[in-house]
Chain length 882, copies 2
Amino acid sequence: MGENCLKTVYLFNEGYGQSRRLLGGKGAGLCEMTSLKLPVPPGFVITTDVCKSYYANNNTLPKSLMKEVKRKIAVLDKETGKRWKSKTNPLLVSVRSGAAISMPGMMDTVLNLGLNDDTVVGLEKQSGNPRFAWDSYRRFIQLFGKVVFGVDDSHFDDILNAEKTRCNVTLDSELDENSLQNIVKKYKDVCKKQTGAEFPSDPDEQLELAIKAVFASWMGERALVYREKNNITPDIADGTAVNVVTMVFGNMGNDSATGVIFTRNPGNGANQIFGDYLVNAQGEDVVAGTRTPKPVSNMKKELPEAYDTLVQTCNTLEQHFSEPQDIEFTLEQGRFYLLQTRSAKMNAVSMVRTSVEMVDEGLIDKNRAVSRLSADQLEQMLHPSIDTKAAKNHKILAKGIAASPGAASGIVVFDVKKATALGEEGKPVILVREETKPEDVPAFFASMGILTSRGGKTSHAAVVARGMGKPCIVGCVDLHIDYDSDTCTTQNATLHSGDSITIDGSTGVIYTGEVPTISPKITKNFKRLLSWAQDSKRLGIRANADTPEAARLARKYGAQGIGLCRTERMFNAKDRIGLFVDMIMADDITQRNKILQKLQQLQRSDFVKILRAMEGYPVTIRLLDPPLHEFLPDPETLSNKIKTMSKSDAQDTTPVLRRARDLAEVNPMMGHRGVRVGITYPEIYKMQIRAVFEATARLANEKVDARPQIMIPQVGSVEELNYIKEIYGTIKSEMEKRYNRKLSVNFGTMIEVVRAAITANALATTAEFFSFGTNDLTQATYSFSREDAEGKFLPEYMDKEILSHNPFQSLDVDGVGELMNIAISKGRSVNSSMEIGICGEHGGDPNSVKFCHASGISYVSASPHRIPIAMVAAAQAAISEV
Amino acid sequence: MGENCLKTVYLFNEGYGQSRRLLGGKGAGLCEMTSLKLPVPPGFVITTDVCKSYYANNNTLPKSLMKEVKRKIAVLDKETGKRWKSKTNPLLVSVRSGAAISMPGMMDTVLNLGLNDDTVVGLEKQSGNPRFAWDSYRRFIQLFGKVVFGVDDSHFDDILNAEKTRCNVTLDSELDENSLQNIVKKYKDVCKKQTGAEFPSDPDEQLELAIKAVFASWMGERALVYREKNNITPDIADGTAVNVVTMVFGNMGNDSATGVIFTRNPGNGANQIFGDYLVNAQGEDVVAGTRTPKPVSNMKKELPEAYDTLVQTCNTLEQHFSEPQDIEFTLEQGRFYLLQTRSAKMNAVSMVRTSVEMVDEGLIDKNRAVSRLSADQLEQMLHPSIDTKAAKNHKILAKGIAASPGAASGIVVFDVKKATALGEEGKPVILVREETKPEDVPAFFASMGILTSRGGKTSHAAVVARGMGKPCIVGCVDLHIDYDSDTCTTQNATLHSGDSITIDGSTGVIYTGEVPTISPKITKNFKRLLSWAQDSKRLGIRANADTPEAARLARKYGAQGIGLCRTERMFNAKDRIGLFVDMIMADDITQRNKILQKLQQLQRSDFVKILRAMEGYPVTIRLLDPPLHEFLPDPETLSNKIKTMSKSDAQDTTPVLRRARDLAEVNPMMGHRGVRVGITYPEIYKMQIRAVFEATARLANEKVDARPQIMIPQVGSVEELNYIKEIYGTIKSEMEKRYNRKLSVNFGTMIEVVRAAITANALATTAEFFSFGTNDLTQATYSFSREDAEGKFLPEYMDKEILSHNPFQSLDVDGVGELMNIAISKGRSVNSSMEIGICGEHGGDPNSVKFCHASGISYVSASPHRIPIAMVAAAQAAISEV
């Protein structure tokens, strides 16, 4: 299509109904307000298509554009009663950028355009205020020179300061019109020096140059960086529009003013206008901060009529947009103008409050209330956060990978036992380790937060901390820990055991000292919102929970079951880890079985508690997953320890070392774990399956509606599953006979091995349910070990745009998602009503939840603290489908 | 279908054309020989379906069976002129088992059936030899008692021995008919004692019992074990047939004989009958070894007429079966009978020779010659093998995983440098290590064989040794190496550095001392056969080769290109590894580039040599694949070494330790390697790409037809591939400008990451070819690390039948194969003529080659030593399709 076919310029009263994509956010807002008969100064929008054409044609404007612009200027003449280039009543305009996505301050604007040595005289006459006219002229040249010609501000400042010195005054406003005329001349000279030509006096030429300059600023350094940082990609905004707006002046006396206000309080969501204004000032004065603006509430007294208009306008806008607005207004000699409106940016708390109140006010419906929240934003509400103001007084020690959100302060402790002991004494402890192991878990319970120098987002520390909802930073490579001297060093400092630090698990930043934190609250509003989300969603929401406490918390947040209960976590309790190690070290099967019997009693009592807490809802119990060596000490460390032991101690410990070495693996992620352990040491799975059935029987006796499901991890073939199913079947009959009742315990499999996804039709002949383990599945699909990838090449992959996002945080739809869809369709081809869940960490990620909804998954399971997020994301997915 | 509808019994002259599945191998052979008018004693076959019915109906025979059998017995009466149950001229029969797959000696047989106190008199009359008659009766009772009643042989032996003592003789044959009558009575008593009933005298009853006993022996302990060991599954043989055959006697005087012969020599394939016979003997005497049989050549003089018949019969059989036969014959008073024929089992050498000679003789065509070889068997011909006789005099030290076939003797050396030095002096060295690293490769070149106590079939040692064609045993867990004392110990012995051992990489067995070995030869016959295979196959065959020598060898074996040239192997040469380490240690990019320039020159010269050696054929050069830390020393070892160093040495070495620790990974298989290194250190890939183009330009100048292809490893997304393609494109233009000519270097990707397979359509937009890396793809699909799996749970998985075969040896068709088919179809949907190869080790496995043929892959690439195997397998796949 040639440029002639396209409408390139829209008057504000022509543009309503066109997309923000075409007119930019500001332009679309101005057109929409115009259509609402709100007092918008006349103006027009040059579309973003023109911007694209500008870049496509080697930075030139379409040939016919300026003709069209002049035609629109003529319309403005008519509407305002002023005249373009007039020496008596001149029309002046501002030329403003405005892309589809707001990029405040990142692109250029020119004000007071249309002034020259002739029209300034007209402005004098029009306003009856020569000082005002020449000040406007001076401002115009400065801004135009800077934006269009790239003149450095310092040149203008020097001239201004020199004049002030000469006149012996300190404020700009103290300069009189003679001084300003003087300055105008000198400003023009500066521009001439820069361009080698006279400063353009023809308003048409000025306008063309300004339009080009605004387009050029789309690709300016600031704009590029901003778009990259805020992930504004060409598919959501690919150019700026240009808004040409009749100038109105808030600086024409005490019946003039300018202000920026929100229709509701963006800090707490309260339903009252919120913002600042300045009397006798232009917008830039508010921004520049040279004068202190007054709170808008003050306007009620000072400018009561205007205040009423403002409040009324705010109501109109909210009624129309169904969103709190962020607006700019100007009062010119008592006449009220709106210059901009856009949806107000709000924090999580105010989003929640305004959502609920707007429903109550009948402004929006519940679906809209749920949809307008960013699920990510909710995260803020669910964890203690750093008091950012207070944080400014604290040194940043280092930065690591934000692994589990929330902030915590405490004393640095490197030793695991010491951390446990101090924590149990009630000291706030931050456990600082190179990495952590299952045997360190008691110290997790005792600590306020965890910091490791190694590992990624699925490292042991990260996963365990997230599960417990404790703040955690991992992979802080700048942190060098020396266990021997009980210190750690960064480029900035050395910390000793006992020193205070604060970690922000939401950002990965580590501060020295105790930074005050802000506690989260589940407000009444938030609860109402969650209940609406619960009503709208189709996906089930379950929790990853390994303890009765976690189960209760999950239930409180609205979880409808436990999608993942990791049985190995139970072995890490202080009274059990020793028993478990003994089991691994058992010389023969008899000894092992004896120990397993003890463990069986413990597991049974765990299961009873969890099943009771989740009464009426399914609880998916995953049998032992990690490789056995994870429960033994690290061979190198142990070997060193043995060297310092007495002979008899060394003798006692050597078998453990030998076993740890025997069990050690080159690639533990892909080793002897999950069902592979279950098959080679069937006595372990037998014990766990028996414990589940015994717990079920016991609760059945008590008439508790327990709904356990047994889930097998790391399955890659139906043969593996069949092997365990046979064991399960034998135990089931044995138990049903013993307890003389039917015991219903579903039997299913994780899908976390690629081969399981590929052969899901075979698995579906044995499994009653599937649950995607998307952490492992993502690792296997990418052949990335998350631990290695996140610490090493993943950041560079994001920098180089090879990955658009971290696939461990948000599901990789093209690869992992495709595999999941293969598995779902193969599984359901055998059992069309099969329950298929997802229990990887992606279950708590909004985008991944959206994918799960679309692929027909039955439920997502997330850590308790992320359940509200999953809930809202699931509701949004369901709502957006309608 | 009811049993009445099925023909349950076939006379030998009725059965020709029925399947071996139905009649068993023996029965089908007898029917076929009968149809050829060869002298087979009349008889009939009870089908394997009856056997299945027997088991399906709780070990009972179909009701009508014995009626049908009696009808057939009546036919035998007619054909032989003898009479069942006759007191004057009785018909006697043997009752023999015979399944679809030969299971020699594993099931039961009854001879001389039909004898009782009456018919024995008839036999006396018929033969005119009372002693023969009573000896036959005695033998019948013994065999029947054992087979049908389960009487222990020792009871019969005791009676026989007692009688010999009583008569004061030593040989059975010295007992006269009175003694034998005596024995018959006592034998019957033994049976009566066992069963509580009189020995059955009715031949009909005898026959029914014998038939049942033969069916029962299908599920006997011996048969079950044999079938399991030989992988005879129900889909290839699911029951035994029963052959009822008129008895003929080789023990009726000196004009009688019995023998077992091959129509060609099974040891070397020579075209002459080969085997043994005994005059005046029954078959069991040949087997029992109580008399020494004579070579069949002797028959020419001793029984010239029968010999001529035999030779003629052999010709007839070969003409008919187109296979050398293994036959049993009996001469009864000058009359020649054939009792069995089957295809002769032969070793690789004789299979090759007979194949070629039978083509020359016009017996078979070339396709048949290629098809009758087992590709696995070929392996024997391609490596030195243990002289198994001589091996019996040597102690077996231990057993490990057979990782690279062939046998080698040498002195044990534990130290890598010492091994290199001694090897270069010409000493035969066996390198014995816990595991090996890239820096150990010079010692590989200098050694005769490699033995490691750790690792699996894709451990570094295994893969490198296979590539070099050197014998290698890995994962010998019983071997404890103590580097400090320069010794290793097993349960049996302690070896010192310098002691002699012999390793058999084909079986994993390690012997003490030097066991003589037998060298392989590529015979003229073998070469002809390979050339026929080459003509028949559709798949391309390329080689995995990293050196000009390997390239030349591959070409000699018939490779049509190099499918995988691993560039990192070139960095392991003695003069390069230091340089490569310096490159890794470089402080900044400038220093690194300086070193890379040197490496570039070396690589260029490598590429020139390899491309020249493969002139006219494609050479696929894979850019650096392993993680950088593989080139650095192990941190723990180095750290210990540093402790013993002088202060200044320690200072120099510490940075290497630090770097090694920085680069260390938890799961190196899934870490920072392949294209991930290429993207984070682009200077390395740039160097390699430049070296390829420079080599290409140089050869173009010399008018050498070089056809390089650049292949990127570990690719998981098209974004990665695009990043490198851009580098490639820049270098290509730069080089074409510099050398002023077009340089054609194809650009492609490995498919070894699951995500690459799943997104192959995207990759196909950038890659010009695909090559499946099935080693890594199998690991990723199963989430098994081969190194960990093979040493730990894989053996148990095979035992428990969770895996039917090792997926690293033979491709997993359901999982990995399915993924490959997804990738092929996605890739070809974008580029229908895309070249897709496979360069994992599966390229040398016959079953995997068959899969590749079927999925439409373009070529397989295997190590040079496996190319003949791949060639034959590819030909067989193509032939079997016709």
